[in-house]
């Protein structure tokens, strides 16, 4: 079995999409993460759900975890509203890490190893420059067990 047998079409967002829209897309379709495309349509980042959440957390709370504790419940409940027009580009991590991207010929073991190494619940499958879709963690686990 190869990656091409497990790949499913996967929704994408662009660098200039608002973070709020990205979060909504994930919530509505219960996605494990998102694929971010650049202007040319090539994936620049694969964000696991937890990292999309990170985009919504105020930067000062990421810089200093103690500050998340001092914020009162009323404000803490609505922190996502402060996002405003922030785009995915503005909220991307500074140092890009290895992307969970593979080709359609990758074996299940390759995909699993890549997922584990990059801590990503989805792996994008590219045929050359063309994005075919993604293999999700749950699809992979169903196949393995």
């Amino acid at each position: 079995m190869r990656a091409r047998d497990l790949v499913v079409p996967f929704p994408t967002v662009e660098l200039d999409s608002p973070v709020a829209d990205a979060a909504r897309l994930m919530a509505e379709r219960e996605l494990p993460g998102l694929i971010v495309l650049d202007e040319r349509g090539a994936p620049v980042s694969i964000l696991p759900g937890t990292q999309v959440l990170r985009l919504a957390v105020p930067r000062y709370c990421q810089d200093d975890p103690a500050l998340a504790r001092v914020i009162d419940e009323a404000h803490a409940d609505t922190f996502v509203r402060a996002l405003g027009e922030r785009t995915v580009r503005q909220a991307m991590p500074e140092r890009p890490r290895e992307l969970p991207v593979t080709d359609p010929d990758a074996t299940l073991l390759e995909v699993a190893a890549l997922m584990a190494r990059t801590r990503s619940p989805l792996v994008a499958v590219l045929d050359g420059d063309r994005l075919l879709g993604a293999v999700t963690l749950s699809a992979l686990l169903k196949r393995l067990t």
């Binding site: 810089d63 504790r69 009162d72 009323a74």
Partner: protein
């Protein structure tokens, strides 16, 4: 001068340019420079590793190491966030009062910790507080970077240039307390007044917003009270040991290392965790720098420069001190003050012998004041400024080079000008 001396000078200047322009990472540049100095026999292992005058100053390296460990543990306790939010609530949302309290906390913290750590701690909480009060955050951040540079001038451990000066000049923690701290208190007060003028447009008071600041819970910042008490106690012991040097006779580097060891011993922090907080590249940078400057000492370049400087100022301590003060301020505005002071220290040590009469330490104080305060002049003058601009940008607030520098030039001119009467009245009359 010999051929080696000339080559060493060229290598040194080239390395300096690379460090100042950041064309190459500063650690790479300093180590590269040191490597070439060793290759051309401008210096050798014997002097580089073991000489007091021309080798790595291990007092400086180990004092920094010890303080980095202590500060690394202290910053995890949440005590700074607690203080800053407490201050914001005490200010009842009044913008200028808030700025005064934040600046005083920053200056005080910088006197004991290094400046970069201080601004790393104060900047995120400033974002939170300013967001609540709908205040422009840039003026607060700029003022905090400057307060940390001014506050750091006050003590031996406040700013790395002071650590180098103390070790090279044989000055104690108490010398700094007696000679620089009183002046820095005055400078901080004047600086706070200046901020009232410089940032007057930023102080918009909104009573509704002010009420929201009272909902923050500063006590939640502290997660582990036991560790807080332990680390503050160790910091207290360390400061006491610095002050009690005339009685205990422990060098500052030894005190810092013992303090760091004690902290690891009494808290639940593991050795691994403690060592992870150390900025190893900075320590290696210092070592490389010392070897490079040592090569200039070994080849006689430094002696030549100081002789020329002594002749130029005709051996008059007053003129020498003033030139040193203003030239240090000017140069530190452009280049990192750590390599600057590392280079100037052997020159000033020589000058102190050549210049007749008076209190010779005045030259050291002029160097310290010029180098530390000069860092405020431009956005790249001190590490704290660079770090603040970086944090601001990550949070979506761009502070341009000139936005910082237009305030920095005013603050530096005023603070350095105030040093002039202080040095004259106290040491040169």
């Amino acid at each position: 001068m010999t051929v080696t001396a000339w080559v060493a000078t060229i290598v040194f200047v080239a390395t300096y340019v690379l460090i100042a322009t950041e064309k190459v990472h500063r650690v790479k540049a300093a180590l590269g420079g040191a490597a070439i100095m060793l290759l051309i026999h401008a210096t050798a292992a014997g002097s580089a590793f073991f000489s007091q005058e021309s080798g790595v100053d291990w007092n400086v390296v180990f004092l920094l190491l010890g303080m980095m460990i202590i500060v690394g543990v202290l910053r995890q306790t949440g005590v700074f966030e607690y203080l800053a939010i407490w201050a914001a609530k005490r200010a009842r949302g009044r913008p200028f009062r808030l700025m005064v309290l934040l600046l005083v906390i920053t200056a005080l913290a910088s006197a004991l910790l290094d400046n970069v750590t201080t601004v790393l701690l104060i900047a995120p909480v400033t974002f939170l507080v300013c967001e609540r009060l709908a205040l422009p955050v840039a003026p607060f951040l700029i003022a905090e970077a400057m307060a940390s540079n001014i506050g750091g001038t006050a003590t031996l451990v406040g700013d790395p240039p002071n650590i180098i000066i103390a070790s090279r000049a044989g000055l104690t923690f108490n010398d700094f307390l007696v000679h620089l701290t009183p002046l820095v208190i005055v400078l901080t007060a004047v600086f706070v007044g200046l901020c009232r003028l410089l940032f007057r447009k930023a102080f918009r008071y909104d009573p509704e917003r002010a009420a929201e600041i009272m909902q923050l819970d500063e006590r939640a910042a502290i997660q582990d009270k036991v560790m807080l008490v332990q680390s503050l106690s160790v910091l207290g012991v360390v400061i006491a040991a610095f002050v009690l040097h005339p009685v205990l006779h422990y060098e500052p580097s030894v005190v810092a290392l013992l303090g760091a060891g004690l902290l690891v011993l009494v808290t639940k922090i593991t050795t691994d965790d403690a060592l992870r907080e150390v900025e190893w590249p900075t320590l290696v940078f210092f070592a490389g720098l010392f070897v490079m400057v040592g090569a200039l000492v070994e080849t006689g370049v430094i002696a030549q420069v100081s002789r020329a400087a002594a002749e130029a100022t005709a051996g008059r301590p007053g003129v020498t001190a003033m030139v040193l003060l203003w030239a240090s301020a000017g140069l530190s505005a452009i280049v990192d003050n750590i390599p600057y002071v590392a280079t100037m220290s052997p020159i000033v040590a020589d000058l102190a012998h050549h210049v007749p009469g008076g209190d010779h330490n005045v030259l050291w104080w002029a160097l310290a004041l010029g180098a530390d305060l000069g860092g405020n002049a431009t956005a790249v003058g001190a590490s704290a400024n660079v770090v603040i601009l970086g944090i601001a940008e990550r949070n979506g607030v761009r502070i341009s080079f000139w936005q910082f520098t237009k305030y920095g030039l005013v603050v530096t001119a005023v603070t350095v000008a105030l040093c002039v009467p202080y040095l004259w009245l106290r040491y040169l009359l």
